[in-house]
């Protein structure tokens, strides 16, 4: 049974990642390659605050959200005026720099050795110490995040982001502060990405930089594209699909060594095929055109 | 809408023909069912206000814009679905509005791009022919085209098109931005090429007077459709003859 709960925990984590990324990519139309960096910053910030400052899980998480949101401005403010592939490249650069820092700032992050023994989160004094409990815990948090993101997306705020995505010049001509709104959306999405980071750290009880690489950013993009960008159902379906696919391969009795590559090949081919025939993904509404 | 009546002055053979063309950009409809014939060896001037669809028509004929409906014919064969470069190989040449060149290639290289279909040995000779037309280009032989003045660039672009020795020539404002004297020379050159080589020309020109003087026939477009034509273009030079196309129903407004 634990196996099932484990998978659902991972789905919960990726749902928050995908929905927050959707705010940037699907709603605002900004293809960013550094969402995993924010995910990682969130994980490390929460962990370090819990372990070094001795804070509880929730205060650490809140601080991590704020920190991630603020740090995202470093890349967002200057690079949002870049267009198309230049913006993608700038965020790629940021992703790699963040990874390098996590990897090399050994005195703070222990670098490649990672941080073991992360404390188990407590809710009202109760330790979330079984997989099932963690599933409930992450489910409630994912539900809460989804609710918040849903409120954002169904609000005039979400609507004006979509308008910017469709035509930012027209949006500016209607009096919308395009750069301000873009930066806001970017920072909110980054802040939300800290949540799955904290959940991941608390669940694994060990983190190292390899969970927050460029390929993880690409994985998040793949979720959005396969499920579909620009609405609510697409990212959720995408997250479930991407987490379940390797498990499905396992059930087909494909050896683990091959299955790992095979699922990546499937993601890759799906990306190509969807871009060719259905750029808005399976359930999405926006196709990066 | 009135269909184009075609009484071609020079010859009965059709060099270029479009049939019931509808075309535009995105959802914006520019050509609204336009039909037109140009006889072989004929110079036809297209007249009409901005936005009438003259440039769009040339783009469709050249193959840069796919029409929504209708067909394009060159020397009796349909070319509606042909890619641009195949139309060029069939003898169509197109001078793009504004005189586009390759800015980072030198003048010489630009001309060589125009002369690509000649065997290498013949290129220089062909290019010399064009240079005699625009001596200023010779002076800038090794300069990057992006550094040329507007007029020189225009001349270079025209030289590249003329190098193609086309059967049908589409000219979109070839004299724009040129000094009046040079503009006149260029149009005279077009007429000369037409007379000596029998090139068919479809001409869009801001300088309506010059265009009408050089053309065998003139066609007026208004709002994406055929409005009128004449076998005596000079007759349209009379004061007020073109008002209907350019200024519409003046009298009604003046009366009110």
């Amino acid at each position: 049974m634990n196996y099932l709960w484990h998978i659902l925990v991972m789905i919960n984590i990726y749902i928050i990642l995908a929905l927050s990324f959707n705010l940037v990519a699907g709603y605002t139309g900004l293809l960013s390659l550094c969402h995993a960096a924010f995910y990682g910053i969130g994980a490390y910030a929460t962990t370090l605050l819990m372990m070094k400052a001795g804070w509880g899980f929730f205060p650490s998480l809140l601080a991590a959200i704020l920190l991630t949101g603020v740090l995202s401005l470093i890349i967002a403010v200057p690079s949002l005026r870049l267009r198309g592939d230049y913006f993608v490249l700038a965020t790629l650069g940021f992703q790699i720099i963040v990874f390098t820092i996590l990897y090399n700032w050994v005195s703070l992050t222990r670098g490649p050795y990672g941080i073991p023994g992360i404390p188990i989160p407590k809710v009202f004094g109760v330790e979330v110490n079984t997989v099932f409990r963690y599933f409930l815990f992450s489910g409630v948090i994912a539900g809460f995040c989804s609710l918040l993101l849903w409120m954002l997306k169904t609000s005039p705020f979400g609507r004006v982001l979509k308008a910017i995505r469709e035509d930012e010049i027209a949006a500016a001509a209607l009096g919308k502060n395009v750069s301000g709104l873009k930066v806001t959306a970017f920072a909110i999405a980054a802040g939300f990405a800290a949540v799955p980071g904290a959940l991941f750290a608390g669940y694994m009880r060990y983190i190292d930089p390899t969970s927050f690489t460029l390929m993880e950013s690409v994985f998040i993009i793949a979720i959005i594209i396969i499920g579909g960008a620009g609405n609510f159902i697409g990212p959720v379906v995408g997250a479930a699909f991407m987490v379940l696919l390797p498990e499905a391969l396992r059930f087909l009795h494909i050896p683990d060594a091959i299955a790992a590559n095979m699922r990546q090949i499937i993601y890759g081919l799906l990306l190509i095929i969807l871009m060719r025939y259905r750029p808005q993904g399976l359930f999405g509404e926006y196709g990066f055109e | 809408m009135q269909e184009a009546i075609t009484n071609m002055a020079q010859t009965s053979k059709i060099g270029l023909q479009v049939e019931r063309l509808r075309a535009g950009y995105g959802k914006k409809e520019i050509l609204r069912g336009l039909s037109l014939k140009v006889g072989q060896g004929e110079i036809v001037a297209l007249i009409g206000p901005n936005g009438a669809g003259k440039s769009t028509l040339l783009k469709v004929i050249a193959g840069l814009l796919r029409p929504w409906e209708g067909s394009v014919w060159l020397d009796g064969t349909e070319i509606t679905a042909l890619p641009v470069h195949q139309r060029v190989q069939k003898g169509l040449a197109y001078f793009i509005q504004g005189g586009e060149v390759f800015p980072s290639l030198t003048v010489r290289e630009n001309l060589e791009m125009g002369a690509l279909m000649f065997p290498k040995a013949k290129r220089q000779e062909a290019i010399e022919g064009v240079l005699s037309l625009f001596p200023a280009l010779k002076e800038n032989w090794h300069r990057r085209a992006g550094l040329l003045s507007g007029g020189q660039r225009q001349a270079l672009a025209l030289g590249m098109v003329l190098l193609k020795r086309p059967k049908v020539l589409l000219l979109d404002e070839p004299s724009a931005g040129l000094a009046p004297k040079l503009a006149h020379e260029i149009l005279a050159k077009v007429r000369e090429l037409n007379e000596h080589l029998g090139i068919t020309v479809l001409l869009v020109e801001q300088r309506v007077r010059e265009a009408l003087q050089v053309a065998h026939r003139a066609v007026a477009l208004v709002n994406g459709t055929f409005a009128a034509e004449t076998n005596e273009p000079a007759s349209w030079l009379v004061e007020g003859a073109l008002d209907a196309f350019f200024f519409g129903r003046m009298e009604r407004a003046a009366a009110s």
């Binding site: 005039p156 705020f157 609507r159 469709e166 | 520019i30 206000p49 300088r207 007077r209």
Partner: protein, 272 residues
């Protein structure tokens, strides 16, 4: 679509829109150069409220550049622009738009994947729901406000004749309908000045009728309307005043029949 209620529509933001005649936009000695080419060359013009002013001239005369300068998408090299006495050159486009200068682009620029209704609703100014914090914390207030906006948007859609299509995606509308939609959008944005770049181009003739009457009505309601237009029939029909531009300069202005009858204008236009 009679002459219903544009004034009524505007009452709720009456403070912002002063519906009196007089000069609203004033351009003084504007110059804009693109790498040696003077696109706008020492242009001084004024546009008045309650009138339709047409800006005509050959391609490349600098008309669209002038619009870009007024709406802030380009900065003038020299010269000043005033809107109701306030200097606006140098401000970012969205600030200028917020002050009430609306702009319709040559290509329609609708928000394709948004419904017609959303295209209009997104345009309203001062939506507290555009603040992400408020949409979460003060959801009820935002929702109430949203109801008002929805009603207003529906009335605006009715005003431009698109009520039945409010749920259609903007990209599925015809070109003419999209233009009507963008005008509704400008009304929602509280525009007081309408800079319309070739509003009738590419629109089918039947739709041109309703567009023109709409434009006319905007002027009657006291808006400042400026159109760039190539179709002289249209100019004769709707313009109160005409500026003729050629090679970056205003070379003639006056009543439509005066300008179109002007010898120099005919030469520049016809090339005869």
């Amino acid at each position: 679509m009679g002459n219903t209620g544009l004034n009524e529509l505007q009452t709720w933001k009456a403070k912002e829109v002063v519906s009196v005649n007089g000069v609203t936009i004033e351009c003084c000695n504007l110059t804009k150069t693109f790498g040696g080419l003077k696109a706008v060359d020492d242009v001084s013009v004024t546009f008045e409220a309650g009138k339709v002013t047409a800006l005509i001239g050959p391609n490349g005369a600098g008309k669209t550049t002038l619009f870009h300068l007024i709406s802030g998408f380009l900065r003038p090299d020299s010269g000043q622009i005033f809107y109701r006495g306030r200097r606006i050159d140098g401000l970012p486009p969205w600030r200028i738009a917020q002050m009430g200068i609306g702009r319709l682009f040559q290509d329609v620029r609708v928000f394709g994947k948004l419904s017609a209704l959303d295209n209009v609703r997104v345009a309203f100014r001062k939506q507290s729901g555009e603040n992400p914090l408020w949409t979460v914390v003060r959801r009820l207030k935002v929702n109430r406000e949203e109801q008002t906006f929805t009603e207003e948007a529906k009335r605006l859609l009715q005003f431009v004749g698109l009520s039945e299509l409010e749920n259609a995606l903007a990209e599925d509308l015809s070109y003419g309908q999209q233009k009507l939609l963008t005008i509704a959008r400008l009304l929602a944005a509280g525009a007081d000045v309408f800079l319309l770049d070739e509003p009738t181009a590419g629109v089918n003739p039947e739709m041109v009728r309703s567009l023109l009457s709409l434009i006319r009505r905007l002027a009657e309601e006291g808006k400042t309307v400026v159109v760039i237009e190539h179709n002289m029939n249209v100019v004769m029909e709707i313009a109160d005043w005409v500026f003729f531009m050629d090679e970056g300069q205003i070379i003639a202005f006056g009543l439509p029949e005066e300008v179109l009858g002007d010898r120099a204008v005919r030469t520049a236009y016809l090339g005869i």
